[in-house]
């Protein structure tokens, strides 16, 4: 009996379909240089800039399409609406990987759907490498910290601090760890937790130890093996935070400072200060898309986020990118060693991801 007749037609259809496009994952839209949708506004300053942008944003349709992985975005959206009533913010919220995938796919199909991007540094760098972003130019730059500027096609709007958090019932006063190397001690066995996807934390600490502390790579590997022998692996930072509050383990080796601060504010027995060194700072940024549908509204949003919006970012217990935010207290205590991932390590994402996976599973790291 012929088994194939029915699916043959279907298969032919699928082949036709597959033939319509090139490779689904490769290729980018080339952006023609000189074709700058923001040219009319970039050099303006002060009230003239705001007025021109607002008028142009209204005539564009009075909306801005934003893709974001910022979980506190609603506060920014509300703040922007108060500042500019009549300009609607359509926010697509997803995790950073999804935001990246979506924007890449849409641009590959030549159907860009968003004007602004608000997500993590890794994803912004990936988008920038595809020439999908347009560097921000405006007066707001002057007020930003040095680390927030000159990053290519994007600008940092806030920093996340990866810290070591602990349960204050489980870790008594005086027993608090001071340095990441302390956790190799067997007394922590079964009391530590790491998140299964936090390879970027691993990459940061590893390069900090080798590049800043002068540790040899094999010593750093040994240290991590000892730490890994003490850890429980969890999936998801929220579950990790909740289990830490509940006392299921004593220490979470990589949590956001704002997660711990929010829980402590509600009364949970958790703390991260005095900070275990080093505190890892990761920039999260805002970026203008190279092919926006609403360029004026996009620029208006970015101007606002980098100035007035900084107060809202500070209120959500994150670290703003602006040098000076009135009434704001830096959460990381002065004098704490902070570290940001070095440029060389940033590009080796596959290497770090594989190494972290292998470390947790306890397989010999052969490379």
């Amino acid at each position: 009996m012929r088994q194939g007749a029915l699916p043959v037609g279907l298969l032919a259809g699928a082949l036709l379909l597959g033939g319509c496009g090139t490779s689904p994952t490769a290729g980018t839209t080339g952006s023609a240089p000189g074709d700058n949708p923001y040219a009319a506004y970039e050099t303006l300053t002060g009230k003239e800039r705001t007025d021109t942008l607002l008028a142009a944003a209204r005539s564009e349709g009075g909306a801005v399409d934003l893709y974001t992985s910022n979980t506190d975005i609603q506060d920014l959206v509300d703040g922007f609406r108060n500042a500019y009533p009549g300009i609607e913010v359509n926010a697509f919220r997803a995790n950073s990987e999804t935001v990246l995938q979506r924007a890449s796919q849409e641009n590959q199909a030549n159907k860009p759907q968003n004007d602004v991007m608000d997500t993590n540094d890794l994803e912004l760098r990936a988008l920038d490498a595809q020439h999908l972003l347009h560097p921000y130019q405006g007066p707001a730059e002057a007020g930003l910290k040095d680390a927030a500027k000159n990053l290519g096609g994007w600008t940092a709007e806030r920093f996340n601090a990866f810290v070591v958090g602990w349960n204050t019932d489980q870790v008594r006063a005086g027993e608090e760890p001071r340095d990441i190397t302390d956790f190799a001690d067997p007394k922590w066995k079964g009391r530590l937790s790491v998140e299964v996807g936090d390879w970027d934390w691993y990459a940061s600490i590893h390069t900090y130890l080798t590049e800043e502390k002068g540790m040899s790579p094999s010593d750093a590997d040994d240290l991590f093996k000892k730490i890994a022998a003490n850890v429980k692996v969890v999936k998801g930072h929220t579950v990790q935070g909740e289990l830490l509050s509940a006392g299921q383990f004593a220490v979470a080796l990589s949590v956001y400072s704002h997660t711990v601060d929010k829980a402590a504010k509600k009364g949970a027995p958790v703390a991260w200060r005095p900070a275990v060194e080093p505190v890892i700072l990761r920039p999260n940024g805002v970026a203008l898309m190279a092919h926006p549908r609403h360029p004026a509204a996009a620029l208006l949003w970015t101007d606002w986020v980098l100035t007035e919006g900084q107060k809202i970012i500070a209120r959500s217990l994150r670290i703003p990118a602006a040098e000076d935010v009135p009434g704001y207290e830096e959460p990381v205590p002065a004098g704490t060693t902070t570290y940001s991932l070095s440029k060389t390590a940033e590009n080796d994402t596959v290497k770090w991801n594989t190494a972290y996976d292998a470390l947790l599973r306890g397989v010999p790291t052969a490379g």
Binding site: M1, Q3, L6, P7, G9, L10, L11, G13, A14, L17, C20, G21, S23, P24, T25, D65, T71, D72, N90, F92, A94, N95, E97, T98, L100, Q101, R102, Q105, E106, Q108, A109, Q113, E123, A126, V196, G197, W199, K232, V233, V234, K235, T238, V239, G241, L243, A246, G247, Q248, A263, K266, G267, T349, N353, D357, A358, L360, R361, G362, T365, A366
Partner: protein, 601 residues
């Protein structure tokens, strides 16, 4: 009274009764009918069947084509290569060890779910057990609670040091803490309970379509209860049981919620943790992700072929024939209180304990074990937060539209395609069956990417609308719909269709007036399942939804990402309440349209 009965011979491996209708002069009737349909492609019936087959094939082939393309062609597009498989399975991936863990976990979960679900369905449909009302909740609530919440509830219950079962029950009473949820057995327990409703729904439909007179005859002939169960009941239900086992086995293989939350703590890695890793990295190695999915596909395909082979003598299972039967409950007699107690216990363990923990957590600011101090500080703040979410109403509306739409569309398509697969000898029907099963192994993210790739390039306005979510859900739940529909159809003898045809009914009339009503139990069960699970589908949704088109699972994800576990618990509790309500309405409506109910028994 229901129209139905049996023409079953208990066991019959006689080659004369192979698939298809009895060898009579009209042997090739359904084939002829299909051919007639295809020869008249512009007739309504021909169009209906043709369109259904094409749509199902299209739904399944889009993500499969995308997956195969990425796996074998590589991103360079330079010819066919198997590099992706080397990256996925070679090196220090420990793929073998992890596959073994996965198989152990999947087999254990499927076996537990199959046993529990079947036993519950039997007690529900065929006995005069007390507390039938509780079954309804016990059978569905674990399915409704999102996996992440169900697993976390069990962590709070079964953690070896602080779990409530250990600290409040075993420690004071027996002086030990025997329960450790972070073990393979813990994982099997949670996954098995979470999946048992899949079996329960399928088996309730199957038991209702089964004539008890066979069992009665056996009992009269002196067979013991156990023999009746072993020789009559179980063999007759084989299509439904195989379908359930297959669905749950493959679903356990490809899920990462329970292994991710429970297994990792003790270093128990499963196969899907590899996929999780690959999809988290950038640039994503789609080839490797595809190679893993194809590995799962091979296992699933073997499952489908095996189930086809086990059902090869399909006449053996046709319990719905031309004669009428009246299902009569087995009187439990002295066993009744014990069965009743068992029902209560099951309800307690699968519903009250985990949902109770969720309700308790939803009333807290942060989770702590209950003490007199925490009990005095309970607050409704989290519920207030849920109801004041700006998108709550939009999301609820959209979830209802997409969920009901997908459930209806899938069950309609599946009913027609199941007919083609089981009732005709159309060439390629096995391949069609297999094809309709493939979406179950496609990772949600890959499905999302495949759909956005296609619809971004299509001139039709589908991308960015609710329609693309509907297409995605129809694809994801097609395998479930197919299993529910085909196990219902496998129980029906073709003589009913033949009688209808002889009496002059057109194909469509037969389908609508005879087949669909008789299959309604299975169809409704599949519909309920798809509706419930579509409310929590996230992995493809998150890529495909658009601002203003949010669904509930996006809100759940947002709370989850934002670290608001207690708010998430409140949202979960609201969802359970809402879906229980929806499903009871569906069953009430089903009863009005002739679906038999057991409540009177």
């Amino acid at each position: 009274m229901t129209l139905a009965s049996t023409s079953t011979t208990s066991r019959d491996d006689d080659p004369a009764s192979r698939p298809g209708p009895a060898p009579r002069p009209g042997e090739n009737k359904p084939v002829d009918r299909l051919l007639r349909l295809l020869r008249r492609p512009l007739s309504f019936q021909g169009l209906l069947v043709g369109v259904a087959v094409v749509v199902v094939g299209y739904l399944a082939l889009v993500p499969l084509g995308y997956l195969v393309h990425d796996t074998f062609l590589g991103s360079g597009g330079s010819g066919v290569s198997l590099d992706a498989f080397a990256r996925a399975y070679g090196g220090n991936s420990q793929a073998g060890q992890m596959l073994l863990n996965s198989l152990w976990f999947a087999v254990g979960s499927a076996a537990l779910a199959l046993t529990l679900g079947t036993a519950l369905a039997y007690v529900q449909v065929r006995t005069d057990t007390p507390f039938k009302g509780l079954f309804f909740a016990a059978s569905l609530v674990p399915l409704i609670v999102p996996g992440i919440l169900y697993s976390t509830s069990w962590i709070f219950l079964g953690d070896p040091s602080t779990g409530l079962l250990n600290s409040l029950l075993f420690k004071p009473l027996f002086g030990s803490s025997p329960i450790n949820i972070y073990s393979v057995w813990g994982m099997i327990w949670v996954q098995g309970l979470h999946l048992a409703p899949v079996t329960f729904l399928l088996m309730v439909a199957a038991f209702r379509a089964m004539d008890p007179s066979l069992e009665e005859s056996a009992a009269m002939s002196g067979a013991s209860r156990l023999t009746v169960l072993r020789r009559i009941t179980v063999p007759l239900l084989r299509p439904a049981m195989i379908s359930a086992a297959l669905l749950m086995f493959v679903q356990s293989l490809e899920s990462f919620e329970v292994p991710g939350l429970l297994g990792l703590q003790n270093g128990i890695y499963v196969f899907t943790s590899r996929i999780y890793f690959v999809l988290r990295a950038y640039p994503i190695d789609y080839g490797a992700a595809g190679a893993y999915a194809i590995g799962l596909l091979v296992i699933a395909a073997m499952g489908v072929l095996l189930s086809g082979w086990l059902q090869r003598s399909s006449r053996n299972f046709q319990t719905v024939g031309g004669k009428a039967f009246r299902p009569r409950p087995v009187e439990l007699g002295r066993a009744r209180p014990y069965v009743g107690a068992g029902v209560i216990l099951y309800f307690l363990v699968t519903v009250i304990l985990p949902v109770g923990v969720l309700v308790y957590a939803s009333l807290l600011k942060y989770y702590t074990a209950p003490t007199s101090k925490t009990l005095g500080r309970l607050t409704l703040d989290n519920y207030r937060a849920v109801f004041t979410m700006p998108l709550a109403f939009t999301a609820l509306k959209n979830s209802l539209i997409v969920g009901i739409g997908a459930a209806t569309a899938v069950m309609f398509l599946a009913a027609i395609v199941a007919w083609v697969v089981l009732r005709t000898k159309a060439p390629g029907r096995r391949v069609l069956d297999l094809l309709a099963f493939t979406p179950i192994v496609i990772p949600g993210l890959v499905l999302g990417l495949a759909l956005s790739f296609v619809y971004l390039r299509m001139p039709l306005p589908i991308y960015g609308t609710l329609l693309i979510l509907l297409i995605s859900y129809c694809t994801r739940y097609l395998p479930y719909g197919m299993r529910y529909a085909s196990s219902a159809m496998a129980q029906m003898s073709p003589e009913l269709e033949e009688s209808a045809a002889v009496s002059g009914a057109s194909w469509f009339q037969t389908f609508r007036r005879v087949l669909l009503p008789l299959m309604s139990g299975g169809i409704l069960a599949g519909w309920v399942y798809i509706l419930v699970v579509s409310f929590r589908e996230l992995s493809s949704t998150i890529l495909l939804y658009s601002p203003g088109k949010e669904v509930l699972s996006v809100l759940i994800w947002e709370q989850f990402e934002n670290g608001q576990f207690t708010t998430l618990a409140a949202l979960g509790v609201c969802m359970v309440a809402l879906l229980v309500l929806l499903v009871s309405v569906a069953y009430r409506l089903g009863a009005r349209f002739g679906l038999q109910s057991d409540s009177a028994n």
